[in-house]
């Protein structure tokens, strides 16, 4: 029997103005990153509700990453500063509940940082893969 290699499912929320464009640039430059990374476009990282993060875990995501403009460069001037506080709080709480820290991350990726985007996704996927499947936050009913 062939054992299928474990590939973690990763949901990446990317802001429209910097990180989504950074991901496009990674594509333009043909920079590889795992296919299990799936990007959801949001207008600003501050649009990401903690509920979305938890929902992704509930439905079986193994890692969730938020990408936004670098602090100070937000298209909406201050959105990512709120993201930074909200996610700092959420991640600290998840850690407090015993959820592995490496499953969540916030990274600032500008529209010019295609290479950083790809490298971040590779690194994140690797760290999450090392943890194995997300068992602590998933909802078993949602697994096929």
């Amino acid at each position: 029997m062939q054992v299928k290699e474990y590939k973690p499912l990763i949901v990446a929320f990317c802001c429209n103005w910097c990180s989504y464009a950074g991901a496009d640039l990674a594509g333009n430059n043909r920079l590889n990153y795992p296919a299990e990374v799936k990007i959801i476009r949001v207008p600003c990282s501050c649009r990401v509700n903690p509920m979305f993060v938890l929902r992704a875990f509930q439905r079986g995501a193994d890692g969730v990453i938020l990408c936004g403009c670098h602090p100070g460069d937000c298209h909406y001037t201050s959105g990512n500063y709120y993201t930074r506080r909200r996610m700092a709080m959420l991640f600290s709480m998840l850690d407090y509940l015993g959820i592995e820290r490496e499953r969540t991350r916030v990274e600032w990726v500008s529209a010019a940082e295609g290479a950083k985007f790809a490298a971040t996704m590779n690194d994140f996927a690797e760290k999450v893969a090392a943890l194995g499947e997300n068992k602590r936050l998933e909802d078993l009913r949602c697994k096929k």
Partner: protein, 664 residues
């Protein structure tokens, strides 16, 4: 239920090379809501777009998903295509299967599988899409310019010449600003008054321009195209419409000991005054702090002598409400206070002066009628030392000065030094500099002329200490090229003080919800591409309120701001971005969380009556989003605990549907 069409693009081999487009189209066919699915070589081509249009009509599609390149590339294209076929353009979603799939994965099965999932996410989102229509708001065709210096004057003239009404609010009794106080202007040395005052007259006489002098902006409400502004016209105790500016009242006023701010306190004026001869409006103003009639009712001389009957001691501050489509900030700058720079003895000796004071000392209309005389004893100074960078280019932790370069000091110091040597060849003029920064047309040539033709001594070094001794000022400084410490017994020391934004800028920025940097300069919407606009729509920046600027630069920026205003006022209506936040009033608590995180001040509150099931009415505070101001970041949606606030086009349930589709 939606009727969704899926269109998978090959992008030649760009997508089809790593993604099995036929399989993707086939797989998405069975997704809920999908009634049509097709693939084509180039969806963005005319033929591809026709394919989409035909399918919309033929299959009565209510939404479409295009699996293609990045939405940053062709979302607008496909939205137009949909609109041409009668479909609401916001019923289009793009699955990015090129930049984020075929280009980053090499393996066909992997790419195909991911493309299908991205397609499913887009289908899941479209299922929850609703048609969106951009809001429209009318534009009030009048502009407000705050500040009547050269920046405000130029902006106002340019806007008015284009045929729009402009109001200028100036806190001083006259427009003119700092430029009116200057003597000559670099690098051409034409006299400031000769080039400024004709413009001031133009403003005063322009039928499209109103001047609210001695006035301040009190409150700003509204948004781009529709600002409601309250202007406080301070009581000047003179009826503007009657005063002829003859000056009889001024000459008769017995109160002579009022420091004259126009000459920076270097001489005195009367309690009733006209700041300078070419003032616009040329109307007298009574200084309530000094007028005996206003203070204790004992005088009334000016009223007695005014033949026009313009004096009115009972005048009160007046509030004027006006509507504007655009607001231009032109609040300008001031030199910083020299109080903390003890080493230069500014507060100890009258003969240590700032450069702006030097301007007045050399100005024919100044306190010395243009003769360069020492403020302490009225003697002709023989040795003059200029010190540059006083309070500029300081460390961030330095509480005395500013971190930035004030930009104009090198040039005006060269000008002062040159003019002094020109007019008084017997004087010995030394300039201490750290660097001489003269980028600009004819600027470096100007500085070189000061050195080479006029014999100004430029010494690279800094003054460490100025000590008054007898009637001399002992200037101890370094000459770091000669590696020497030198002492000069000077008669006059002129400090090139750093400049800072006017103190009124910060409260004004709060009123306008316009952003500022830590130095209180207004920030521009984009430092390179939108340098004369504030991030707050409808607010524009002119002159030194945005950063240190000389006159040529100020005037060009003023013109640029005016052209942006004209571009806005020329429109009858503004169409907004329809992807804006909106609050469900049944669920809103009115808790103000959303308002606090909104960077645009787009959220306000109103008390709304609700009919309750038991036929009573309940008045509840609810949030209301102004769609013309909201830019659609969605920050408020997360701050809202009840989920009453949601973002059109990126709604909670839409994003969650995408998450679910990806994680299935």
């Amino acid at each position: 239920m939606q009727r969704i069409g899926v269109f998978v693009c090959w992008c030649g081999s760009n997508i089809a090379g790593t993604v099995d487009v036929v399989a993707v189209a086939e797989a998405l066919k069975s997704e809920p809501g999908v009634v049509f699915s097709a693939n084509y070589q180039y969806m963005c081509s005319q033929a591809g777009q026709d394919l989409i249009k035909d399918a919309i009509k033929e299959h009565n599609l209510t939404g479409i998903v295009v699996c293609s390149c990045s939405p940053r590339m062709h979302e607008a294209t496909f939205r137009k295509t949909a609109a041409a076929a009668g479909l609401n353009p916001y019923m289009v979603e793009i699955a990015n299967i090129r930049e984020q799939c075929s280009w980053v994965h090499k393996d066909m099965p992997v790419g195909t599988e991911k493309a299908i999932i991205l397609g499913k996410a887009a289908v899941a989102k479209v299922n929850l899409n609703t048609p969106l229509v951009p809001g429209e708001s009318p534009v009030t065709k009048r502009a407000l310019v705050i500040g009547g210096g050269i920046a405000g004057i130029q902006t106002a003239l340019d806007i008015a010449d284009a045929g729009f009404e402009v109001d200028i609010v100036e806190k001083q009794p006259t427009i003119g600003g700092k430029m009116a106080q200057l003597d000559k202007t670099f690098p051409t040395l034409d006299c400031a008054a000769c080039i400024l005052t004709p413009k001031m007259v133009d403003v005063g006489q322009h039928e499209k321009i109103r001047i609210f002098s001695y006035s301040e902006v009190e409150a700003v409400k509204g948004f781009v195209g529709n600002f409601d502004v309250t202007i406080k016209k301070k009581a000047r105790y003179v009826k503007e419409e009657l005063c002829t500016g003859c000056g009889d009242c001024v000459s008769k006023c017995p109160m002579k000991k009022v420091p004259n701010e126009f000459n920076l306190g270097m001489d005195n004026r009367k309690a009733i005054y006209i700041p300078f001869a070419q003032a616009v409006p040329k109307v007298a103003t009574i200084d309530a702090d000094y007028c005996n009639m206003l203070k204790n009712g004992k005088c009334g001389v000016c009223a007695k002598f005014c033949q026009a009957g313009a004096i009115d001691y009972t005048q009160k501050d007046e509030l004027i409400e006006e509507k504007y489509g655009a607001i231009v900030v032109a609040t300008g700058y001031n030199p910083i206070s020299m109080d903390k720079f003890d080493e230069f003895a500014y507060n100890q000796s009258k003969d240590v002066i700032t450069s702006l004071e030097f301007e007045r000392l050399t100005n024919a209309a100044g306190p010395t009628a243009g003769k360069l005389l020492r403020p302490s004893d009225g003697k002709h100074p023989e040795k003059i030392v200029f010190v540059q960078c006083v309070g500029s280019r300081c460390d961030a932790c330095n509480e005395k000065g500013k971190e930035y370069c004030s930009k104009i000091c090198c040039m005006y110091t060269a000008k002062h030094a040159m003019l002094t040597r020109d007019k008084y060849p017997d004087t010995d003029v030394t300039v201490f500099y750290i660097d001489v920064r003269t980028p600009g047309k004819n600027f470096d040539e100007f500085y070189r002329r000061a050195v080479e033709e006029f014999g100004v001594h430029y010494i690279k070094g800094m003054v460490g200490k100025v000590s008054p001794e007898g009637d001399k000022l002992i200037v101890q400084a370094s000459d770091i090229i000669a590696n020497k410490q030198i002492k000069i017994d000077a008669d006059l020391v002129v400090l090139a003080a750093a400049i800072e934004p006017d103190k009124s800028a910060r409260p004004l920025a709060t009123m306008l919800t316009a952003s500022m940097d830590t130095n209180d300069f207004f920030t521009e919407a984009h430092p390179k591409l939108r340098p004369v606009e504030s991030p707050t729509a409808g607010v524009f920046l002119s002159g030194a309120c945005q950063g240190p600027k000389d006159i040529p630069e100020t005037v060009s920026q003023a013109g640029a701001a005016a052209s942006k205003v004209i571009g806005l006022l020329a429109k009858d209506k503004l169409t907004g971005n329809p992807c804006v936040a909106h609050s469900n009033e049944m669920m809103c608590n009115g808790c103000s969380s959303c308002e606090r995180v909104c960077p645009y001040g787009a959220i306000t509150y109103e008390d709304k009556e609700f009919r309750m099931p038991d036929r009573t009415t309940l008045v509840r505070r609810i949030a209301v989003v102004n769609p013309a101001v909201c830019q659609g970041c969605g920050c408020c949606t997360v701050a809202c605990p009840s989920g009453a606030m949601d973002l059109k086009g990126f709604a909670n349930n839409q994003i969650i549907a995408e998450v679910d589709a990806i994680c299935k």
